[in-house]
């Protein structure tokens, strides 16, 4: 009875019963301490804002869509985790052979000491195993994560299946398997979706050179256009590959002595015979490490290009020397302590963390002490690049936006001046010769 009475007292939008319900709901939700004093305020607010308790979704909660979204994601995660155990595709098959894949979960423990966290490392590991099986890639490893504006890229490095054909390549592009295109890289933005791994394309020296001049923040879409000045010929996936190659070529590090220069050809290296990875104490300073890869030359390749047609009168050997003098190689196996940034600051920082006490080994007959310390080397030229070493495990990772450390502000190159058009010559009337008078014939 009372309810109907209250419902009869109406306004245009609502009735008194509804209104009282709304006011009381709001007060209960907000729970202010002096609700008594604020009661009229609440009533006024509810009237003016039109709060209605049955349409209450204050937090834009969307609880139900979350639950259904959850189910889809759980399905995908299960599929990812189970697939490699059951074989690819839905039918269980025999476990196929895969190339070597470092155990990411164990390495993640080392990286935690370095202050680098790899989220969801088990899922990444599974996704990489799947990649190894589906694309028959060998020597696969998790290269790192490049963060972008909308979605991040997870990058895997490896050697692709040799049966991939590339077709005709222009002569200055180093073919797959040599030069800057030695290793192949795959990028993916969604690790739950195994079809998402895209192999990054081969890159040209021109692309490398342009990538040295621009600074671009990736968007997360591999096919996006890269609009910069100077113009970058390619899509985001080319630029991504170029940055990855630049980072890798200049930062892979190995302990000193693991490789030696080949005699007769100082640009090639061989593994030192009978080399054992040193213990903790021998690698504590920057002097104990050296670069592994060659530097990218100014022309954007790893090896100079000798054109097949030389200018007249020039011997091939002399021509080669000329090119090399113009664009010299850097020595291979350089030590890290010699690297400096342009403003003469150090280019690497080395830290030691963890438990650094020497323990006597379990087996009584070896002399080597066990040391669980972790050596971390971080690059200051490419911030985000980390190498960790502990107990004979050496690993490297990149987590960053793909920028090189810059000491100056970045100003994009100004486009070239567009010259003004020459003013048109004023129009002149066509010369009209008077009609020709035929010459009189001579007799």
């Amino acid at each position: 009875m009372l309810k109907e009475k209250l419902q009869e007292i109406k306004d245009s939008n609502t009735n008194l019963y509804q209104h009282l319900n709304n006011v009381l709901t709001k007060i209960l939700l907000d729970n202010p301490k002096n609700a008594f004093e604020l009661f009229e305020d609440y009533s006024f607010q509810v009237k003016s804002s039109g709060f209605s308790f049955d349409k209450y979704n204050e937090f834009d909660n969307a609880e139900r869509t979350k639950i259904s979204m959850d189910q889809a994601i759980q399905q995908k995660t299960l599929k990812l985790v189970n697939k490699i155990n059951l074989g690819t595709d839905e039918e269980p098959q025999e476990a196929t052979q895969t190339g070597y894949l470092p155990n990411l979960t164990e390495e993640a423990y080392l990286y935690e000491w370095a202050g680098i966290g790899i989220d969801e490392n088990y899922k990444i590991f599974k996704a990489l195993s799947l990649l190894s099986v589906t694309k028959q890639a060998s020597k696969l490893r998790f290269w790192g994560k490049i963060m972008a504006r909308e979605k991040d890229y997870y990058i895997a490095e490896g050697v692709a299946n040799s049966q991939v054909e590339d077709g005709e390549l222009p002569p200055e592009v180093e073919p797959r398997g040599s030069g800057v295109n030695t290793k192949s890289y795959w990028a993916c933005t969604d690790i739950l979706n195994d079809k998402d791994w895209v192999e990054l394309p081969l890159i040209t020296p021109q692309q490398i050179n342009v990538s040295r001049q621009i600074k671009y923040m990736f968007t997360g879409n591999l096919e996006a256009d890269v609009i910069t000045n100077p113009y970058f010929f390619g899509k985001e996936k080319h630029l991504l590959k170029a940055q990855i190659v630049r980072i890798t070529q200049s930062t892979v590090r190995i302990p000193k002595g693991q490789y030696i220069l080949r005699e007769g050809d100082p640009r090639e290296i061989d593994q030192t015979p009978e080399y054992k990875l040193p213990g903790f104490h021998e690698l504590k300073t920057l002097n104990d490490w050296m670069h592994f890869n060659t530097n990218i030359l100014n022309c954007g390749r790893l090896v100079h290009l000798i054109p097949s047609e030389l200018p007249d009168g020039v011997e091939p050997d002399i021509y080669q020397k000329q090119i090399e003098a113009a664009d010299p190689f850097e020595n291979r196996l350089k030590q890290l302590s010699n690297d400096k940034l342009p403003n003469n600051k150090p280019a690497w920082k080395i830290r030691i963390v963890g438990d650094t006490t020497d323990y006597n080994p379990l087996a009584k007959d070896t002399n080597n002490k066990v040391n669980n310390g972790v050596i971390i080397i971080k690059s200051l030229v490419w911030p985000g690049l980390v190498t960790v070493y502990s107990n004979k495990v050496l690993s490297q990772l990149y987590y960053g936006y793909g920028f090189k450390a810059t000491t100056n502000h970045f100003y994009p190159k100004q486009p070239q001046q567009v010259q003004t058009e020459q003013p048109d010559l004023p129009e002149q009337p066509e010369p009209n010769f008077p009609a020709e008078v035929p010459q009189q014939q001579q007799d």
Binding site: P32, N61, D119, M147, E150, L380, Y399, T406
Partner: protein
């Protein structure tokens, strides 16, 4: 972030974390801050990496008794895990500090740039005495970076705090928001006129978006909202200060800064 460090999994999305030793020592050191000044909450703010040593920053927040916005106090420590109050930086050099691109060295007395300040005593009759110029030290640079990041980036989801009728902030039972930029707001004294009006008219008591919204930040693309593969752990990253993360799950939220303290001033050119 909370010093139980349960939320580190969010920070791992940008590839940073704290190792075991750091976690244990920081927890003890931050609890020690409460011995001198009792705050409502003492949180771990972040880590600024330097070449030789890193800096750890903690933040104490006092809600009760503060009108309009809680009081925040910052504490810093180096690798010795002994927290001290973060001093104020010299404001005249703030704009120069903004453009620095070198990493922090880790030595807090290191002089970042020399200032030519001469302080003359005017009441001295003969020769004005000059104090030696006080150079801009790395500690001041750290203080500047912390204040800048806190002002420009610190953000919380809408609906997480409420303004009480006495204009104090209290935390609410938080139920999660949809992952959109408009659902986040700055955790600072409102600077934008429309929000200040709301508070002046007391209407802010009834709304949950009474602080400056992130959507109005210019340039708007500096915020990057991403989720991990479970789509439940959301991180909101700032691209001008890379390393800053606001994270949010259904029931927890927080923010932290894990980076090298260098502002990405070229951001406008990168789009």
């Amino acid at each position: 972030m909370d010093i139980s460090f349960n939320d580190l999994k969010f920070i791992q999305q940008i590839g940073q974390t704290l190792n075991m030793e750091e976690r244990i020592k920081l927890k003890l050191a931050i609890l020690k801050i409460q011995e001198h000044y009792t705050f409502d909450e003492v949180l771990f703010w972040g880590r600024v990496e330097g070449v030789e040593k890193d800096y750890y920053i903690a933040m104490g927040i006092q809600y009760k008794g503060q009108y309009e916005f809680p009081l925040k106090k910052f504490y810093w420590s180096s690798n010795n895990y002994h927290f001290a109050e973060l001093p104020k930086y010299n404001e005249e050099y703030a704009s120069r500090a903004d453009n620095l691109r070198e990493p922090f060295t880790g030595q807090h007395e290191h002089i970042v740039f020399k200032t030519e300040e001469e302080i003359n005593f005017e009441d001295s009759l003969d020769i004005p005495a000059q104090l030696p110029a006080k150079h801009f030290s790395e500690l001041e640079r750290l203080s500047y970076v912390v204040q800048q990041v806190e002002f420009n980036c610190a953000s919380i989801p809408v609906g997480s705090y409420r303004l009480t009728p006495t204009h104090e902030l209290i935390r609410k039972a938080f139920k999660g928001v949809k992952a959109e930029l408009k659902n986040y707001q700055h955790f600072r004294v409102p600077t934008r006129k429309d929000k200040q009006d709301l508070i002046a008219r007391d209407e802010a008591l009834y709304r949950e978006d009474f602080l400056d919204s992130l959507v109005d930040d210019t340039p708007n693309q500096q915020w990057s909202l991403q989720a991990d593969s479970t789509q439940r752990n959301i991180t909101l990253r700032n691209l001008i200060w890379p390393g800053y993360v606001t994270y949010n799950n259904d029931y927890t939220f927080g923010y932290a800064y894990f980076g090298d303290g260098i502002k990405n001033s070229d951001f406008e050119f990168l789009l």
